[in-house]
Symmetry: C2
Protein backbone atom coordinates (compact mmCIF):
# COMPACT_ATOMS: atom_id res chain seq x y z
CA UNK A 1 0.00 0.00 0.00
CA UNK A 2 2.87 2.34 0.72
CA UNK A 3 3.99 1.99 -2.88
CA UNK A 4 0.57 2.88 -4.30
CA UNK A 5 0.28 5.85 -1.97
CA UNK A 6 3.66 7.18 -3.00
CA UNK A 7 2.76 6.83 -6.66
CA UNK A 8 -0.48 8.74 -6.09
CA UNK A 9 1.40 11.38 -4.17
CA UNK A 10 3.89 11.82 -7.02
CA UNK A 11 1.02 12.15 -9.47
CA UNK A 12 -0.64 14.78 -7.31
CA UNK A 13 2.58 16.71 -7.09
CA UNK A 14 3.04 16.59 -10.86
CA UNK A 15 -0.54 17.72 -11.42
CA UNK A 16 -0.06 20.65 -9.04
CA UNK A 17 3.19 21.71 -10.72
CA UNK A 18 1.79 21.45 -14.25
CA UNK A 19 -1.35 23.42 -13.31
CA UNK A 20 0.60 26.06 -11.39
CA UNK A 21 3.12 26.43 -14.19
CA UNK A 22 0.39 27.03 -16.78
CA UNK A 23 -1.71 29.37 -14.62
CA UNK A 24 1.28 31.45 -13.46
CA UNK A 25 2.31 31.98 -17.09
CA UNK A 26 -1.21 32.81 -18.21
CA UNK A 27 -2.20 35.04 -15.34
CA UNK A 28 0.92 35.95 -13.38
CA UNK A 29 2.22 34.70 -10.04
CA UNK A 30 0.21 37.36 -8.23
CA UNK A 31 -2.80 36.85 -10.49
CA UNK A 32 -3.73 33.38 -9.27
CA UNK A 33 -4.16 31.93 -5.77
CA UNK A 34 -3.19 28.55 -4.35
CA UNK A 35 -6.84 27.56 -3.75
CA UNK A 36 -7.57 27.92 -7.45
CA UNK A 37 -4.45 25.98 -8.45
CA UNK A 38 -5.42 23.10 -6.14
CA UNK A 39 -9.00 23.12 -7.48
CA UNK A 40 -7.90 23.12 -11.14
CA UNK A 41 -5.53 20.24 -10.39
CA UNK A 42 -8.50 18.36 -8.87
CA UNK A 43 -7.06 18.44 -5.34
CA UNK A 44 -7.71 20.14 -2.03
CA UNK A 45 -5.97 23.17 -0.63
CA UNK A 46 -4.57 20.92 2.12
CA UNK A 47 -3.11 18.50 -0.42
CA UNK A 48 -1.20 21.40 -1.96
CA UNK A 49 0.42 22.28 1.36
CA UNK A 50 1.41 18.64 1.85
CA UNK A 51 3.67 19.11 -1.19
CA UNK A 52 4.77 22.75 -1.02
CA UNK A 53 5.54 24.82 2.04
CA UNK A 54 4.32 28.08 0.54
CA UNK A 55 3.08 29.73 -2.63
CA UNK A 56 6.65 30.99 -3.14
CA UNK A 57 7.97 27.42 -3.06
CA UNK A 58 5.32 26.27 -5.51
CA UNK A 59 6.09 29.21 -7.81
CA UNK A 60 9.83 28.44 -7.77
CA UNK A 61 9.33 24.74 -8.52
CA UNK A 62 6.70 25.43 -11.18
CA UNK A 63 9.03 27.96 -12.80
CA UNK A 64 11.89 25.48 -12.74
CA UNK A 65 9.73 22.73 -14.26
CA UNK A 66 8.45 25.12 -16.93
CA UNK A 67 12.04 26.04 -17.79
CA UNK A 68 13.03 22.38 -18.11
CA UNK A 69 10.11 21.63 -20.45
CA UNK A 70 10.73 24.76 -22.44
CA UNK A 71 14.43 23.82 -22.71
CA UNK A 72 13.51 20.36 -23.99
CA UNK A 73 11.10 21.84 -26.56
CA UNK A 74 13.67 24.42 -27.60
CA UNK A 75 16.88 22.45 -27.87
CA UNK A 76 16.14 18.86 -26.89
CA UNK A 77 16.83 15.87 -29.09
CA UNK A 78 13.19 15.69 -30.09
CA UNK A 79 13.20 19.27 -31.39
CA UNK A 80 13.03 18.90 -35.13
CA UNK A 81 14.47 22.18 -36.16
CA UNK A 82 17.65 23.53 -37.53
CA UNK A 83 20.12 24.22 -34.73
CA UNK A 84 21.06 27.69 -35.91
CA UNK A 85 20.37 31.27 -34.89
CA UNK A 86 17.71 31.41 -37.61
CA UNK A 87 16.14 28.10 -36.57
CA UNK A 88 15.99 29.17 -32.93
CA UNK A 89 14.60 32.62 -33.68
CA UNK A 90 11.98 31.25 -36.11
CA UNK A 91 10.75 29.14 -33.22
CA UNK A 92 11.02 31.67 -30.39
CA UNK A 93 9.53 34.63 -32.22
CA UNK A 94 6.69 32.86 -34.02
CA UNK A 95 3.19 34.35 -33.88
CA UNK A 96 1.92 31.07 -32.44
CA UNK A 97 4.13 31.43 -29.36
CA UNK A 98 2.88 34.97 -28.93
CA UNK A 99 -0.67 33.63 -28.58
CA UNK A 100 0.19 30.90 -26.09
CA UNK A 101 1.81 32.28 -22.95
CA UNK A 102 0.59 29.29 -20.91
CA UNK A 103 2.84 26.86 -22.79
CA UNK A 104 5.74 29.09 -23.79
CA UNK A 105 8.97 29.92 -21.97
CA UNK A 106 8.26 30.99 -18.36
CA UNK A 107 11.05 33.61 -18.53
CA UNK A 108 9.20 35.36 -21.33
CA UNK A 109 5.76 34.89 -19.76
CA UNK A 110 6.81 36.31 -16.39
CA UNK A 111 9.83 38.49 -17.19
CA UNK A 112 8.90 41.64 -15.32
CA UNK A 113 7.43 39.79 -12.33
CA UNK A 114 10.38 37.70 -11.17
CA UNK A 115 12.33 40.66 -9.73
CA UNK A 116 9.50 41.17 -7.21
CA UNK A 117 9.69 37.65 -5.84
CA UNK A 118 12.28 35.70 -3.83
CA UNK A 119 15.89 34.76 -4.30
CA UNK A 120 15.13 31.14 -5.26
CA UNK A 121 12.98 32.00 -8.27
CA UNK A 122 15.55 34.66 -9.22
CA UNK A 123 18.23 31.92 -9.24
CA UNK A 124 16.01 29.79 -11.52
CA UNK A 125 15.61 32.71 -13.91
CA UNK A 126 19.40 33.27 -13.91
CA UNK A 127 19.95 29.59 -14.72
CA UNK A 128 17.35 29.65 -17.48
CA UNK A 129 18.76 32.85 -18.95
CA UNK A 130 22.32 31.54 -19.04
CA UNK A 131 21.19 28.23 -20.46
CA UNK A 132 19.30 29.87 -23.33
CA UNK A 133 22.21 32.25 -23.97
CA UNK A 134 24.58 29.25 -24.13
CA UNK A 135 22.35 27.61 -26.73
CA UNK A 136 22.70 30.70 -28.92
CA UNK A 137 26.40 31.05 -28.20
CA UNK A 138 26.92 27.50 -29.47
CA UNK A 139 25.35 28.27 -32.85
CA UNK A 140 26.87 31.71 -33.42
CA UNK A 141 29.64 32.01 -36.00
CA UNK A 142 33.00 30.81 -34.64
CA UNK A 143 34.70 33.65 -36.46
CA UNK A 144 33.20 36.12 -33.97
CA UNK A 145 35.56 36.71 -31.01
CA UNK A 146 34.45 34.78 -27.93
CA UNK A 147 33.67 37.79 -25.71
CA UNK A 148 31.52 39.30 -28.45
CA UNK A 149 29.74 36.00 -29.06
CA UNK A 150 28.87 35.90 -25.37
CA UNK A 151 27.48 39.45 -25.41
CA UNK A 152 25.57 38.78 -28.62
CA UNK A 153 23.99 35.63 -27.18
CA UNK A 154 22.84 37.46 -24.04
CA UNK A 155 21.45 40.29 -26.14
CA UNK A 156 19.53 37.89 -28.37
CA UNK A 157 17.88 36.31 -25.32
CA UNK A 158 17.07 39.68 -23.71
CA UNK A 159 15.66 41.01 -26.99
CA UNK A 160 13.56 37.91 -27.54
CA UNK A 161 12.12 38.20 -24.01
CA UNK A 162 11.37 41.90 -24.50
CA UNK A 163 9.99 41.42 -28.00
CA UNK A 164 7.59 38.69 -26.94
CA UNK A 165 6.46 40.64 -23.86
CA UNK A 166 5.88 43.76 -25.98
CA UNK A 167 4.17 41.80 -28.79
CA UNK A 168 1.79 40.30 -26.24
CA UNK A 169 1.27 43.66 -24.49
CA UNK A 170 0.09 45.40 -27.67
CA UNK A 171 -1.77 42.44 -29.23
CA UNK A 172 -5.22 43.34 -27.83
CA UNK A 173 -5.17 46.88 -29.12
CA UNK A 174 -2.92 46.68 -32.19
CA UNK A 175 -2.38 43.18 -33.63
CA UNK A 176 -0.44 44.50 -36.62
CA UNK A 177 2.06 46.31 -34.36
CA UNK A 178 2.41 43.08 -32.40
CA UNK A 179 3.35 41.26 -35.57
CA UNK A 180 5.64 44.06 -36.67
CA UNK A 181 7.61 43.96 -33.39
CA UNK A 182 8.29 40.20 -33.64
CA UNK A 183 9.31 40.46 -37.28
CA UNK A 184 11.55 43.51 -36.79
CA UNK A 185 13.37 41.94 -33.85
CA UNK A 186 13.77 38.68 -35.78
CA UNK A 187 15.30 40.47 -38.77
CA UNK A 188 17.64 42.68 -36.73
CA UNK A 189 18.86 39.80 -34.54
CA UNK A 190 19.55 37.58 -37.54
CA UNK A 191 21.60 40.41 -39.03
CA UNK A 192 23.38 41.24 -35.75
CA UNK A 193 24.22 37.55 -35.22
CA UNK A 194 26.52 37.74 -38.20
CA UNK A 195 28.69 39.94 -35.97
CA UNK A 196 29.89 42.44 -38.54
CA UNK B 1 -16.49 76.76 -2.10
CA UNK B 2 -17.01 74.89 -5.33
CA UNK B 3 -13.64 76.18 -6.53
CA UNK B 4 -11.83 74.96 -3.38
CA UNK B 5 -13.55 71.61 -3.58
CA UNK B 6 -12.56 71.13 -7.19
CA UNK B 7 -8.96 71.97 -6.39
CA UNK B 8 -8.95 69.47 -3.57
CA UNK B 9 -10.53 66.89 -5.81
CA UNK B 10 -7.85 67.41 -8.47
CA UNK B 11 -5.16 67.02 -5.83
CA UNK B 12 -6.71 63.79 -4.58
CA UNK B 13 -6.86 62.44 -8.10
CA UNK B 14 -3.20 63.31 -8.69
CA UNK B 15 -2.19 61.70 -5.39
CA UNK B 16 -4.07 58.52 -6.30
CA UNK B 17 -2.47 58.36 -9.75
CA UNK B 18 1.04 58.99 -8.48
CA UNK B 19 0.69 56.39 -5.71
CA UNK B 20 -0.89 53.81 -8.03
CA UNK B 21 1.73 54.38 -10.70
CA UNK B 22 4.58 53.80 -8.25
CA UNK B 23 3.02 50.79 -6.50
CA UNK B 24 2.00 49.09 -9.77
CA UNK B 25 5.58 49.39 -11.02
CA UNK B 26 7.08 48.17 -7.77
CA UNK B 27 4.70 45.32 -7.08
CA UNK B 28 2.70 44.66 -10.22
CA UNK B 29 -0.88 45.48 -11.14
CA UNK B 30 -2.07 42.24 -9.55
CA UNK B 31 0.28 42.61 -6.59
CA UNK B 32 -1.45 45.59 -5.02
CA UNK B 33 -5.09 46.30 -4.17
CA UNK B 34 -7.13 49.48 -4.46
CA UNK B 35 -7.62 49.70 -0.67
CA UNK B 36 -3.87 49.92 -0.18
CA UNK B 37 -3.44 52.50 -2.93
CA UNK B 38 -6.12 54.70 -1.36
CA UNK B 39 -4.55 54.31 2.10
CA UNK B 40 -1.03 55.16 0.87
CA UNK B 41 -2.42 58.21 -0.90
CA UNK B 42 -4.03 59.25 2.40
CA UNK B 43 -7.58 58.79 1.13
CA UNK B 44 -10.50 56.43 1.60
CA UNK B 45 -11.50 53.54 -0.60
CA UNK B 46 -14.68 55.48 -1.45
CA UNK B 47 -12.68 58.53 -2.55
CA UNK B 48 -10.82 56.32 -5.02
CA UNK B 49 -14.06 55.15 -6.64
CA UNK B 50 -15.22 58.76 -6.92
CA UNK B 51 -12.33 59.24 -9.37
CA UNK B 52 -11.95 55.87 -11.10
CA UNK B 53 -14.66 53.44 -12.12
CA UNK B 54 -12.56 50.34 -11.56
CA UNK B 55 -9.06 49.11 -10.78
CA UNK B 56 -8.60 48.59 -14.51
CA UNK B 57 -9.40 52.26 -15.17
CA UNK B 58 -6.99 53.37 -12.46
CA UNK B 59 -4.27 51.07 -13.85
CA UNK B 60 -4.72 52.44 -17.38
CA UNK B 61 -4.58 56.08 -16.24
CA UNK B 62 -1.65 55.44 -13.90
CA UNK B 63 0.21 53.65 -16.73
CA UNK B 64 -0.49 56.53 -19.09
CA UNK B 65 0.68 59.11 -16.53
CA UNK B 66 3.82 57.07 -15.80
CA UNK B 67 4.57 56.92 -19.54
CA UNK B 68 4.18 60.70 -19.88
CA UNK B 69 6.57 61.34 -16.97
CA UNK B 70 9.02 58.77 -18.24
CA UNK B 71 8.87 60.34 -21.72
CA UNK B 72 9.60 63.77 -20.25
CA UNK B 73 12.55 62.39 -18.25
CA UNK B 74 13.82 60.52 -21.28
CA UNK B 75 13.52 63.01 -24.09
CA UNK B 76 12.01 66.19 -22.67
CA UNK B 77 13.63 69.61 -22.90
CA UNK B 78 14.87 69.32 -19.33
CA UNK B 79 16.73 66.08 -20.05
CA UNK B 80 20.38 67.07 -19.92
CA UNK B 81 21.82 64.31 -22.00
CA UNK B 82 23.15 63.84 -25.46
CA UNK B 83 20.33 63.09 -27.87
CA UNK B 84 22.00 60.10 -29.48
CA UNK B 85 21.65 56.32 -29.40
CA UNK B 86 24.53 56.21 -26.92
CA UNK B 87 23.09 58.97 -24.72
CA UNK B 88 19.68 57.26 -24.63
CA UNK B 89 21.11 53.81 -23.92
CA UNK B 90 23.46 55.12 -21.20
CA UNK B 91 20.36 56.45 -19.49
CA UNK B 92 17.98 53.54 -20.10
CA UNK B 93 20.39 50.75 -19.22
CA UNK B 94 22.07 52.31 -16.19
CA UNK B 95 22.45 50.24 -13.01
CA UNK B 96 20.56 52.95 -11.09
CA UNK B 97 17.43 52.42 -13.21
CA UNK B 98 17.69 48.72 -12.62
CA UNK B 99 17.39 49.34 -8.88
CA UNK B 100 14.41 51.68 -9.10
CA UNK B 101 11.44 50.06 -10.82
CA UNK B 102 9.03 52.40 -9.01
CA UNK B 103 10.28 55.47 -10.85
CA UNK B 104 11.43 53.97 -14.15
CA UNK B 105 9.54 53.39 -17.40
CA UNK B 106 6.23 51.60 -16.74
CA UNK B 107 6.63 49.55 -19.96
CA UNK B 108 9.81 48.04 -18.57
CA UNK B 109 8.46 47.64 -15.06
CA UNK B 110 5.30 45.83 -16.20
CA UNK B 111 6.24 44.36 -19.59
CA UNK B 112 4.99 40.82 -19.15
CA UNK B 113 1.85 41.84 -17.25
CA UNK B 114 0.16 44.14 -19.73
CA UNK B 115 -0.92 41.36 -22.11
CA UNK B 116 -3.10 39.92 -19.34
CA UNK B 117 -5.05 43.12 -18.82
CA UNK B 118 -7.54 45.09 -20.92
CA UNK B 119 -7.51 46.71 -24.33
CA UNK B 120 -7.13 50.26 -22.96
CA UNK B 121 -3.87 49.60 -21.15
CA UNK B 122 -2.66 47.63 -24.18
CA UNK B 123 -3.30 50.74 -26.31
CA UNK B 124 -1.27 52.84 -23.86
CA UNK B 125 1.60 50.37 -24.09
CA UNK B 126 1.43 50.47 -27.92
CA UNK B 127 1.57 54.28 -27.83
CA UNK B 128 4.48 54.25 -25.39
CA UNK B 129 6.36 51.67 -27.43
CA UNK B 130 5.95 53.56 -30.69
CA UNK B 131 6.88 56.82 -29.04
CA UNK B 132 10.12 55.43 -27.61
CA UNK B 133 10.95 53.73 -30.91
CA UNK B 134 10.41 57.07 -32.71
CA UNK B 135 12.86 58.74 -30.33
CA UNK B 136 15.51 56.19 -31.32
CA UNK B 137 14.58 56.36 -35.00
CA UNK B 138 15.19 60.12 -34.92
CA UNK B 139 18.76 59.71 -33.66
CA UNK B 140 19.80 56.73 -35.80
CA UNK B 141 22.19 57.38 -38.66
CA UNK B 142 20.39 58.88 -41.70
CA UNK B 143 22.54 56.73 -43.96
CA UNK B 144 20.62 53.63 -42.82
CA UNK B 145 17.64 52.94 -45.12
CA UNK B 146 14.36 54.07 -43.56
CA UNK B 147 12.75 50.62 -43.24
CA UNK B 148 15.85 49.28 -41.51
CA UNK B 149 16.02 52.28 -39.19
CA UNK B 150 12.44 51.58 -38.18
CA UNK B 151 13.19 47.90 -37.45
CA UNK B 152 16.36 48.81 -35.57
CA UNK B 153 14.54 51.33 -33.40
CA UNK B 154 11.84 48.80 -32.47
CA UNK B 155 14.49 46.19 -31.70
CA UNK B 156 16.41 48.60 -29.47
CA UNK B 157 13.25 49.31 -27.45
CA UNK B 158 12.31 45.61 -27.19
CA UNK B 159 15.87 44.67 -26.18
CA UNK B 160 16.03 47.43 -23.57
CA UNK B 161 12.71 46.27 -22.08
CA UNK B 162 13.87 42.64 -22.02
CA UNK B 163 17.34 43.50 -20.71
CA UNK B 164 16.00 45.55 -17.82
CA UNK B 165 13.39 42.92 -16.92
CA UNK B 166 16.04 40.17 -17.01
CA UNK B 167 18.59 42.28 -15.10
CA UNK B 168 15.99 42.88 -12.37
CA UNK B 169 14.89 39.23 -12.39
CA UNK B 170 18.40 37.91 -11.69
CA UNK B 171 19.56 40.74 -9.38
CA UNK B 172 18.58 39.04 -6.11
CA UNK B 173 20.46 35.84 -6.84
CA UNK B 174 23.28 36.97 -9.14
CA UNK B 175 24.06 40.71 -9.11
CA UNK B 176 27.09 40.30 -11.38
CA UNK B 177 24.99 38.56 -14.07
CA UNK B 178 22.48 41.40 -13.73
CA UNK B 179 25.21 43.89 -14.47
CA UNK B 180 26.61 41.76 -17.27
CA UNK B 181 23.24 41.60 -19.06
CA UNK B 182 22.79 45.41 -19.06
CA UNK B 183 26.34 45.98 -20.27
CA UNK B 184 26.20 43.31 -22.99
CA UNK B 185 22.92 44.62 -24.38
CA UNK B 186 24.23 48.18 -24.26
CA UNK B 187 27.39 47.23 -26.23
CA UNK B 188 25.57 45.13 -28.82
CA UNK B 189 22.84 47.74 -29.42
CA UNK B 190 25.38 50.54 -29.82
CA UNK B 191 27.17 48.42 -32.42
CA UNK B 192 23.95 47.33 -34.17
CA UNK B 193 22.75 50.94 -34.30
CA UNK B 194 25.56 51.68 -36.74
CA UNK B 195 23.58 49.54 -39.18
CA UNK B 196 26.43 47.76 -40.92
Amino acid sequence: MVYVKREQSDENREALLATASRLFRERGIDGVGVAEIAREAGLTHGALYAHFRSKGDLATEAFSQGLARSREAFRGKSARREHSVLGYLDYLLSPQRCDEPGVSCPMTASASEIGRHGKDISAQFAKGFQDKASAFEAVLDDAIPEAERHRLAMTIVAAEIGAMAAARAVAKSDPSLSDEISKAVHAVLVKASKGH
